[in-house]
Amino acid sequence: MKALSTQNHYEVLELAPGARSEDIERAYRLAASTWAEGSLALYSLFDDSDAAVMRERVREAYQVLSNERARRAYDRAHFDAPPEQPRVEIGRLHNVEPLPEDYDDIEISLESALERNLDGSAEGLEADYDGARLRRSRMHRGIELQHVAETTKVALHYLQAIEDESFDSLPAAVYVRGFVTAYARTIGLDGKRVADSYMPRFEEARKEKGRGRLRRR
C-alpha cells in the first residue's frame, strides 16, 4: 500500500487505469460521501483535517479523470502506454464475481458495482415485482425514496403506497401504472417489465375490494 502522497488519481479513487467513465462517476460519488464532513464511516478513525486532505485529493482526481482531454494528457504523462480503455472492472476492490445468467436487473442498474458486489443471485430468481421487492431493489441501488419522488414528480406518499402495497391510497390503475413505470426506470429497472409484473397485484386487490362492496350492498 503506497502512501497517499505517492498515489495517482486512479489509486485515490480506488479505480484501475482505464476505468469506464461510469465507474469514475460511481467511485467519485462514493469517495465524496465517504470523506464528507461528518461522515459516519470516518468516525473515531480519521479527524476532519485528515478527511479534508482526502477530499481535496478526491476532488483533484475527479476533475482530471472526468474530463476526457485532461484525462488523456494525464494518462500519457503517467503511463508508458496509454491504457486502451479496456472494459476494466472495478474488481480489484470489490472481488467482482461473474453473474448468473438469469440475473438481468444488474446490467442496467445505476449502481452496478454495488449490485455486483453485494448480490448472490437472489432477486433474479424471484418472479414477481411486488412492493417489497421494489423497495429492496431501490435500497440496494442506494437510492432514497425522496430522490425517486423528485425525479419522477410523483408524490412521495404514492410511491410509499406502491412499496407498502397500500392499494387503497392509490388512484386509478392507469395512473398507478405510470407511477410504477417511472419509479422502476428511476432505480434502473425495466419500467415495462416491472409494471407488467406489479399491476396484476394491484388490479386483483381492486377487484377483491369491488366484490366486497357488492356483497355488502
Binding site: E14, A41, Y43, L93, G120, A122, A132, R136, M139
Partner: protein, 306 residues
C-alpha cells in the same frame, strides 16, 4: 454421515464487532440456519461464555454440555459437546454453564480450540463472539480463519467496530513479527498518542521498513492475509446500505487492508419478533426482508472465500 476420514477442514467464520447489541448473535444464528438450508453441514458455536445466548436464538433449551467444559478442560472432545437443533444439518455447541471459577483459557488453549473447531465434521463452523476487545475475543476472531464484523449505522457501533479492528490488527501483527525491537514498535504504535508520531498502521509499516526490511515484508504479507469482512445490520435507508462500502474504503486507507462488504440486513420488525419468539427469523418469517437479506449473505459466503 459416515465415519470416514474427511480431508477438507471446516470453514470457520468468526462473528465479532466490538459492540454489544448490534446483532452478532442474531446474524450468527440466522446465517447458520441459512447455510444449513443450502445443504451445508453447519455447527454454530457460542464463544461468548460470559453472555451465552446463541442456544436461545436457535430455539434450543439450555443444553447440559457446553464449550465451557472444553475450556475448563473437563472435556477434550468437542464432538461430545454437540447438540442437535430443530433445523436439519445444524448442530450447536452452546456457551452456557461457565463457572466463575473456571480458568480463563490462555492463548495456546484458544488456538487449540480453534484448531479443534476446524476439525469438526462439518462444512461450516459459525463462531459467535462476545463483545469487547478482550484478547480471547481477538484470538477467536484471528485464529478462526474468516472474520466477519457486524456493525450498525450509528456512531457508537462504528467507533467500537474500528476499536475492535485496530485491536485485532495490532494483535495479529505483533504475533507475526519475529524481532524483539519490531514487536516493541508494534506495541508502541497501539497507543494512539505514541511519541514516535505513528498515527496509523501505514505509518507503522514505514517505521518497520526503516529498521528491518525483512520484517517489513512480513508485515505486508500478514496485512494481506488479514481480511475481515463487513456486515451492516439494522439498515433503514439507502444511505445506511452504502455505509459498508465507505467503511471498507476507510479501512483500506487506514489499515491498508481489504475489508470487503459482505452484505446488510434491514431494520425489521420480523427480526425483533423472531428474537422474542426465541427462533431464527428464517424459521418464523422466511419471507421477511431480513430473512431474504440474510440468505443473500449466506449465498455469497458459499460462493466465496475471503
Amino acid at each position: 454421515m459416515t465415519g470416514s476420514e474427511r480431508s477438507a477442514e471446516a470453514r470457520v467464520l468468526s462473528i465479532g464487532g466490538g459492540k454489544g447489541g448490534v446483532g452478532k448473535t442474531f446474524v450468527a444464528a440466522n446465517l447458520s440456519v441459512a447455510l444449513a438450508r443450502l445443504g451445508q453441514r453447519v455447527v454454530a458455536v457460542d464463544c461468548d461464555l460470559e453472555g451465552a445466548n446463541l442456544h436461545t436464538s436457535l430455539g434450543v433449551r439450555t443444553p447440559p454440555r457446553s464449550l465451557a467444559d472444553f475450556v475448563a478442560q473437563r472435556e477434550d472432545d468437542l464432538g461430545k459437546l454437540l447438540v442437535d437443533t430443530a433445523i436439519p444439518g445444524l448442530q450447536l455447541i452452546a456457551g452456557t454453564h461457565a463457572h466463575l471459577g473456571d480458568a480463563q483459557p490462555n492463548h495456546l488453549r484458544r488456538v487449540r480450540l480453534m484448531r479443534a473447531l476446524r476439525r469438526l465434521d462439518a462444512d461450516f463452523v459459525i463462531a459467535d463472539l462476545g463483545a469487547g476487545t478482550h484478547s480471547s475475543v481477538l484470538d477467536y476472531f484471528l485464529v478462526g480463519g474468516e472474520g466477519l464484523v457486524v456493525l450498525q449505522p450509528e456512531p457508537t457501533s462504528v467507533e467500537n467496530a474500528y476499536t475492535f479492528l485496530r485491536a485485532a490488527f495490532y494483535r495479529r501483527m505483533r504475533l507475526a513479527m519475529v524481532g524483539h525491537g519490531v514487536r516493541k514498535l508494534v506495541t508502541e504504535a497501539m497507543d494512539q498518542r505514541n511519541e514516535r508520531g505513528i498515527r496509523s498502521p501505514i505509518d507503522l509499516l514505514r517505521e518497520i521498513e526503516l529498521i528491518d526490511p525483512q520484517e517489513g515484508a512480513r508485515f505486508v504479507e500478514t496485512m494481506r492475509s488479514f481480511r475481515p469482512r463487513i456486515i451492516v445490520n439494522g439498515v433503514r435507508t439507502a444511505e445506511d446500505v452504502k455505509l459498508g462500502f465507505a467503511v471498507g474504503s476507510v479501512c483500506r486507507r487506514y489499515f491498508g487492508i481489504d475489508a470487503d462488504y459482505l452484505g446488510y440486513v434491514n431494520h425489521d420488525d420480523a427480526a425483533r419478533r423472531s428474537v422474542s419468539a426465541r427462533q431464527p427469523v428464517l424459521e418464523t418469517d422466511a419471507g421477511s426482508d431480513a430473512a431474504i437479506y440474510l440468505q443473500r449473505i449466506a449465498r455469497k459466503l458459499l460462493g466465496s472465500r475471503s
